[in-house]
């Protein structure tokens, strides 16, 4: 404590109050013109007394900081995350570049899941993916194949990859290659198909398949050449600019998409491709505000992968959903997933749809929040709070609230409306478990039936239990660590 003020200072200094509990106490003080900060109090650790004890045991003597082991591990982890420099270095075919990818592998969003347990849009996307790969010719035969056991389903996250919504990636798909030049690791993501009838929302009709074919045959090769001519594109710089132009890198990507077009346009037009083809590419990018999302996601993924697997660290490295389960991974607990049923998104629906049409939360796109933007940078994108019927103040409050559960502020991503403070970055699973404050995730909403597509967008609140479970597991791992050290010494 920097300054000691005796009780008598309470009499001589102007009264300044922090209120925890009954709001009426704060209101009467405010009516007396006393400055009051009214805390949006909630029971610690979700009211779980055993978890409170576990968390208290992980604290150091001064009670406001974690133990030395955790602090040191977190310093290391957050430094990896903050110093990551994701560069877009090119486009490849999944089969050739994604680790572990085979012609019989189908990657999906979220934690591991079997065909039986998949939700409607996930099944639709799987069927579409198999038709696209010509492994099946009809939706029925695709469903039979998916159920047969001949296809290996695996999370994108197990292959240095991420995918929005259903997140289906198959061997022939072109993928962005992002390299974190600080640590040298890479991450991959498919190219964004646009809105409407699209594979990632579980649509698998002819329109979907022919667009995927065009993306493979014309879009990807042309973009790939342009990037090659341009040289690596610093994603950190593009995203930092986009955040100052009203994007948050998850539900709003209009600025980022525009910036990407600006970067690539001069190189596109110089290619020796038919101008009609180049025009189609530019039109496609222009018509799809979310094109940039499939770049912000792997940019976050390769930054977070660099911070993974650090024993003792409470940094959340993955938040992902498969439409059935919401799952997280934590640096100090390695590959382990902590899962709970996926929640329903609180949001606005496109005309003709309602909450009854919604599939539970789905997609790897929460990697953006995990990396310190998306919902965590909501204050940068007041326009999208309309999805939750909110006000610009809600956007500021959301970002502000995330500071209570994060380890640092981004050095690169700043928010003009908050005096250019960095976005809250690096979710501390122990702080989430302790405070009960849950990460704010912006997301789209898929129709629960396959083949229909996007029905809305909004905010989703993750299940508290996954953070509580991860905190308990981390505490166990720390106990084990100590025992190992004692045995070694």
């Amino acid at each position: 404590m920097s300054e000691r003020k005796p009780t008598t200072a309470l009499f001589s200094d102007p009264l300044r109050v922090v209120n925890l509990g009954l709001s009426s106490f704060a209101e009467t003080l405010r009516a007396s013109r006393v400055p009051v900060i009214d805390v949006d109090w909630r029971p610690p650790a979700g009211g779980d007394a055993a978890l409170i004890r576990i968390i208290d045991n992980l604290k150091s003597d001064d009670e406001h900081a974690w133990s030395a082991t955790i602090t040191a591990a977190n310093e290391k982890a957050i430094e990896h995350l903050l110093s990551a420099e994701p560069h877009l270095i090119g486009i490849g075919i999944a089969r050739d570049v994604v680790p572990g990818m085979t012609d019989r592998t189908l990657l999906h969003a979220g934690p591991p899941i079997t065909w039986d347990a998949m939700c409607g849009p996930m099944r639709g996307a799987v069927m579409g993916g198999l038709i696209y790969e010509r492994a099946a010719s009809t939706p029925d035969s695709a469903a039979q194949l998916a159920a047969s056991g001949d296809i290996t389903f695996d999370p994108c996250h197990h292959h240095q990859s991420v995918g929005p919504m259903a997140g289906v990636m198959t061997a022939s798909m072109p993928v962005w290659i992002i390299e974190n030049v600080t640590a040298g690791n890479r991450a991959y993501c498919t190219l964004n198909e646009g809105l409407g009838q699209v594979l990632r929302y579980g649509a698998f009709g002819d329109e979907v398949i022919s667009r995927l074919n065009w993306m493979q045959n014309e879009l990807a090769p042309i973009l790939s050449q342009a990037i090659e001519k341009h040289g690596p594109i610093d994603m950190r710089s593009l995203l930092a600019q986009a955040l100052q132009m009203g994007d948050e890198g998850h539900n709003r990507n209009r600025a980022g998409t525009s910036l990407l077009i600006r970067e690539l346009a001069p190189f596109l037009v110089r290619l020796s491709e038919p101008s009609e083809s180049i025009a189609r590419v530019l039109e496609f990018l222009h018509s799809n505000d979310h094109f940039f999302l499939n770049l912000t996601m792997p940019a976050g993924k390769c930054a977070l992968d660099a911070a993974a697997d650090i024993p003792g660290s409470s940094l959340v490295t993955v938040m992902a959903r498969n439409g059935t389960q919401f799952g997280i991974r934590v640096s100090g607990t390695g590959d382990r997933w902590f899962t709970a049923p996926a929640p329903i998104v609180d949001g606005l629906y496109l005309p003709g749809f309602s909450a009854q049409d919604a599939a539970p939360d789905i997609g790897d796109s929460a990697i953006t929040e995990t990396a310190g933007y998306g919902g965590f940078a909501m204050a940068a994108a007041p326009a999208i709070v309309q999805f939750v019927g909110g006000t610009p103040q809600l956007a500021l409050d959301t970002t502000h609230r995330m500071r209570s559960i994060t380890m640092a502020e981004s050095r690169s991503y700043q928010i003009p409306a908050m005096g250019f403070r960095g976005t809250p970055t690096g979710i501390d699973v122990l702080r989430v478990a302790e405070t009960g404050i849950l990460p704010a995730i912006n997301t789209g909403i898929a129709h629960k039936e396959p083949g229909i597509g996007m029905v809305g967008a909004g905010l989703v609140t993750p299940p508290f239990s996954v953070f509580a479970d991860a905190a308990r597991a981390l505490a166990e791992s720390l106990g084990k660590q100590e025992k190992d050290q004692m045995a070694a010494s």
Partner: protein
């Protein structure tokens, strides 16, 4: 009897006052008989089970989930539960006023904060108070159900840091004219006061104000501070702080009788005090009183002593002339039926229940109470004889609002007690000020009228004797509140001690009459 149904809102925390207001709004809907809106703690779930709600319907609720349990007509219940959010809207935007998400966050926003006002559920209160102390904040701890061990640790921690913990279970404080918690609006002045009970502090400060003087600071300490388990740590800190405070001329200490060792320590400290001091130990035996210090057994006497010590033209506290009261008693006595003589005291303030017993005790009148003074009987399940009930005690307030906020239970009890043919006097307190009901006298007026009419139709007189704790500056307005009570037929006194003495005098007179008849 309707059906019972439970709705749940997951992972949203509401404070209990808000929930009670919401439950009340819901219960006013047609077809709804009974509503409880509580967070899903085990204790709350047990309360709901006792109310007859299906344990299976409650099982999933956790302490961060809201449970809304409703009894009534099926359709009406469904109508409410299908639009729960509509009933949970705050009068103002929640985000507009809830500006911080943790104590840590609040401190980054307002680094110069010097007081934490804590009213979270008891099981979490000690940890929040500890955090506040570690961040250099004084603590006003309204929460109750904090263990003695935690209280002691907090107060030791505070002492090391030269800070004060007011509470736990501290209802009232006044810091340089600003009321915290349940406080009356009083002018600033020379008297500093330390009190272990909220209503004791309210009564003292209101009477000082009504006498024309004022309060420098009023510090609560919590009801257990002067027990030997705690040793008066906060009381001693408060005395020292007031001693150093240039705006304080006289220091008053108000409490139930301290523990043996603690009494010695406090008296020793008061002796050493460089400023004039006075003390009021409610319920202390006359023999135990120290002889060399001004110690009183009623708040009125402590107020008078403090004002005398301020010197100058000692203002006096308001009160009816003794002759007038005698005449009033004489006039009243003849109106009662022959077997009417007992007093039933129904109190919102715990201190008033206690002080009223003290007044009776000094005249050797026995009283049964749910919060008995040493030597008084513990109240059984039924009222008989003189009965004083602290309606703010746990048995009335678990899952229910405090009688200072909501008079529902007291209204019911007033009418019940009036039907006992042996009852002659109802003794009531009415507490004004911030955070109390917006119209506490009005809340009781109809019940008072009904009680008196019930007695009258059975050929009995019923004296309703009330005191109003409050000031002309309080939001409810003292004059208006007193007039409301008078209009309902009550005899109104400016203090609980005076009202109790009047009730006592009437009771004694009625007993005398009984003896006259017998002899």
């Amino acid at each position: 009897m309707g059906t019972r149904s439970v709705g749940m809102v997951e992972n949203r925390y509401f404070d209990s006052v808000f929930l009670m207001a919401a439950a009340r709004r819901i219960s006013e809907q047609p077809g709804i008989e009974n509503v409880a809106a509580v967070m899903g703690s085990d204790a709350n779930k047990k309360v709901l089970e006792k109310m007859g709600f299906d344990p299976a319907a409650l099982a999933e609720g956790t302490p961060t989930d809201l449970l809304i349990a409703i009894e009534g007509e099926k359709n009406a219940i469904e109508g409410i539960l299908s639009n729960v959010d509509d009933w949970l809207k705050r009068p103002e935007s929640r985000l507009g006023n809830k500006t911080a998400f943790s104590l840590e966050d609040a401190m980054t926003q307002q680094a110069e904060s010097n007081l934490a006002v804590i009213s979270v559920p008891g099981e979490y209160a000690a940890q929040e108070a500890r955090d506040a102390l570690e961040r250099g904040l004084n603590v006003f701890l309204f929460s109750d159900h904090v263990s003695v061990e935690d209280e002691l640790k907090l107060k030791q921690e505070a002492r090391e840091r030269d800070l004060i913990v007011m509470g736990p279970d501290c209802g009232t404080a006044l810091i340089a004219g600003t009321g915290i918690g349940f406080a009356n609006v009083v002018r600033q002045g020379p008297v500093g006061v330390v009190a272990s009970s909220g209503t004791g502090l309210q009564e003292f400060t209101s009477l000082v104000h009504r006498a024309g003087s004022g309060i420098s600071h009023g510090l609560g300490t919590g009801g257990r501070d002067l027990t030997d388990a705690i040793g008066g740590l906060s009381t001693l800190s408060a005395i020292s702080a007031l001693e150093k405070d240039p705006n304080t001329t006289v220091i008053a200490v108000i409490s139930k009788p301290p523990g043996r060792e603690t009494l010695d320590r406090v008296l020793e400290r008061l002796h050493r005090c460089t400023k004039p001091v006075t003390a009021c130990f409610l319920g202390m035996d006359e023999e135990a009183m120290p002889t060399d210090l001004q110690v009183h057994t009623t708040i009125d006497d402590a107020v008078k002593a403090a004002l005398r010590l301020c010197g100058g033209d000692a203002p006096s506290i308001p009160g009816a002339a003794p002759e007038g009261l005698k005449a009033l008693i004489a006039e009243q006595v003849s109106l009662f039926a022959s077997d009417q003589c007992f007093i039933r005291g129904l109190f919102a303030g715990g201190t008033f229940c206690y002080q009223a017993q003290q007044v009776m005790k000094l005249s050797d009148v026995m009283v049964a109470s749910n919060a008995p003074l040493p030597g008084m009987a513990r109240l059984g399940s039924e009222s008989a004889g003189n009965v004083f009930i602290d309606m703010g005690a746990d048995e009335f307030t678990v899952g229910m609002p405090h009688p200072m906020i909501d008079a529902t239970q007291r209204r019911k009890r007033i009418v019940e007690e009036a039907q006992d043919p042996t009852v002659a006097v109802l003794l009531l307190d009415v507490v004004l000020g911030y955070n109390a009901s917006a119209d506490p006298a009005g809340d009781l007026a109809e019940a008072i009228k009904e009680a008196r009419e019930l007695a009258a139709t059975s050929g009995r007189q019923l004296a309703v004797v009330a005191s109003v704790c409050g000031t002309d500056q309080d939001p409810q307005g003292l004059d208006v509140q007193e007039q409301t009570l008078r209009d309902a037929g009550a005899i109104v006194f400016p203090s609980n001690a005076q009202a109790s003495r009047f009730a006592l005098a009437l009771h004694l007179k009625l007993l005398e009459r009984g003896i006259d008849v017998d002899s």
